[in-house]
């Protein structure tokens, strides 16, 4: 591995972990329980309580989504099973379109940001060029900028292009990479032995070929991390849909769910059919939970890496 200059600009965050080689490090041995049997029982009790706190609200949510207007705020668990709430929901609002819009935007946002960020990250990791560390410092510094500062001018840009009230502004900015993912992927590319690329060069590989055929396949896990992070970010985002979308048929799920809250939330003077809000919350949450279970390994590795390589 080549010696890499320290990052310019960013705060030195790399912590105790001298494990910068790659995420797959399973460092640390399992700790033996300290203390006697009583403290072990107490520890499991604490974990059990925590588990209830983290899981029970999901059960609660699903239960509430199956109730009626009259009973949605009572506290009986699974006392009714009005699955027709879900079919009604699909009739009273275009939630099927919202779902498709969210999927479309999510996949486009995730695919574009993965490839564009990987391209840029490779440049920072492999090429030697003047002012590289200064430019990379700029990438890191741009992460500090609150979205609010550029929010209005970005709205004006898309407005000038005539693309407000379309789904385009929700993902097209990702064509240009994203600082956080560039940073993350650069770390992974740096972990690849430089000799690998020198060998490819000797075999006559061009730079794009080295990126596409050597670097990319070897960092597949990291690319998946970026993909699912962005899919989740896009699926969850409320700000951009609020700013850019007017037609109810163009809404994504978060925007649609918010419109349902405004319409039905009884404490805010709505119509009080709160069971529909709950059913829509289930519809927006379930895909994320499925994705999490399918890609759990990548979620965990990605977050742990973020925290230890910052």
């Amino acid at each position: 591995m080549t010696v890499q200059p320290t990052q310019a600009g960013g705060p030195p965050l790399a912590p105790a972990a001298a494990t910068a080689a790659g995420v797959r490090t399973r460092s640390g041995t399992e700790r033996r329980p300290i203390g006697g049997r009583i403290s072990q029982v107490l520890q499991f009790a604490a974990l059990a309580i925590a588990t209830v706190i983290f899981v029970f609200p999901f059960v609660w949510l699903f239960s509430a989504s199956l109730k009626t207007r009259a009973t949605v705020l009572n506290n009986e668990l699974f006392s009714e099973w009005h699955f027709e709430n879900y079919t009604h929901l699909f009739e009273i609002v275009p939630i099927a379109s919202w779902f498709v819009n969210s999927m479309l935007v999510g996949v486009l946002a995730a695919v574009t940001v993965t490839f564009s960020s990987a391209l840029v990250a490779f440049a920072f990791a492999y090429f030697r060029f003047p002012r590289r560390d200064l430019i990379f410092g700029l990438v890191l510094a741009s992460m500090m900028l609150p979205g609010a500062v550029v929010m209005i001018p970005n709205f004006l840009i898309w407005d000038t292009l005539g693309w407000t009230n379309t789904l385009v502004p929700l993902w097209a900015g990702n064509l240009f990479g994203s600082a956080f993912y560039i940073f993350l992927l650069r770390q992974f590319f740096l972990g690849l032995p430089r000799e690998l690329f020198e060998a490819a060069r000797v075999d006559g590989a061009s730079y794009p070929r080295m990126w596409w055929s050597v670097a990319m396949p070897l960092t597949r896990a990291a690319l998946i991390v970026v993909f699912i992070f962005e899919l989740k970010a896009s699926w969850t985002d409320l700000v951009k849909p609020l700013i850019f979308l007017k037609d109810i048929g163009l809404y994504t799920l978060p925007r649609g769910l918010m419109s349902l809250v405004s319409r039905f939330n009884p404490t805010a003077g709505g119509e009080g059919q709160f069971q529909y809000v709950m059913a829509a919350s289930v519809v927006i949450t379930v895909p994320m939970i499925i994705m999490f279970f399918l890609a759990q390994r990548y979620f965990v590795e990605g977050i742990a890496t973020t925290g230890s390589k910052g």
Binding site: L13, P15, A16, A17, A18, G28, P33, I34, G35, Q43, A50, T51, F54, V55, P57, L73, N74, N75, S116, A123, F127, F129, M144, L145, P146, G147, A148, V150, I152, P153, N154, L175, F176, G177, Y207, K232, W235, D237, L238, V239, L242, P254, L257, M258, V261, S262, N265, T267, A268, G269, F274, M278, I284, M288, I289, M291, F293, Q296, A304, S308
Partner: protein, 308 residues
Amino acid sequence: MTAPATAAPRRRWRMGEETRWALLFLSPWIIGFLVFTAGPMIASFVLSFTEYNVIRPPEPVGLQNYERLTTDRRIGSSLANTAFYAALHVPGVIIFSLALAMLLLRVGRAAGFFRTVFYLPAVTPAVAVGTLFLLILSGNGLLNQVLGVFGAQPRWLTDPDWVKPGIVIMSLWSLGSTVVIYFAALRNVPTELYEAAELDGAGAWSRFRHITVPFISGAIFFTVIVNTIASLQIFAEIYAMFFGATGSSSAQSSALFYSIYLFQKAFRDFEFGYASAMAWLLFVIILVITVIQVRVSKRFVYYAGDDR
């Protein structure tokens, strides 16, 4: 011509093949940075000295927007609301996440299961977390059912004094990613250190204070910064909960966080000039707080194998 050319064109001429390829690979970011970050920063800064409502062209008003920041009572109250939230949310996340991560460390193979459980709320979309807590925090909702045992029944969604504590409780439910970070950091603490300390007669607190904390101080520092910056910009769940078409006004004034007020000024009232000034104030606040945190951390953060 063979005559020596001037320095500048010569250097450009000699730009190596590698540099040209690097520029090509970097071009998406360079274009994106200029068009969607640097350009908009300049535009936003300029707009902050104007009055602009999209319909008529921007009109320069000098420092008027910034003067208005100092007199607008909602600026003060929304900043106070945000500070209140951040002051409870950040320490809360750190303490509870650390406690949970340390518990995870004790359960061996079962840790993976519990980690999954703790992380579930963190993959739940913010708006859905908001709607879920509209239910949980409601008058006779889940939380008050539990608190009923102690005879307390706060009106979390309507009583201005209880709105923010309710929001903090909601925010703590989604602390999963911080737990994952701490758990990963804790697993890197060498076990031998604890064993040696135990032989030396160090108690549990002393081991925690002198081994655990220094070793994971990098992770703590990272999460403090990230959580602080995020908490100062909290938006989606609160906006969905309290700022739909209608809403209880007393609850709204208590839940009016800075980002929400900024968003209202920009995209409800279309006061682009004033909202730009607000955005720059937020930027400066975040910058100052982060610089302070970095400075303070220099004294406390320990880097293993690092001669910094």
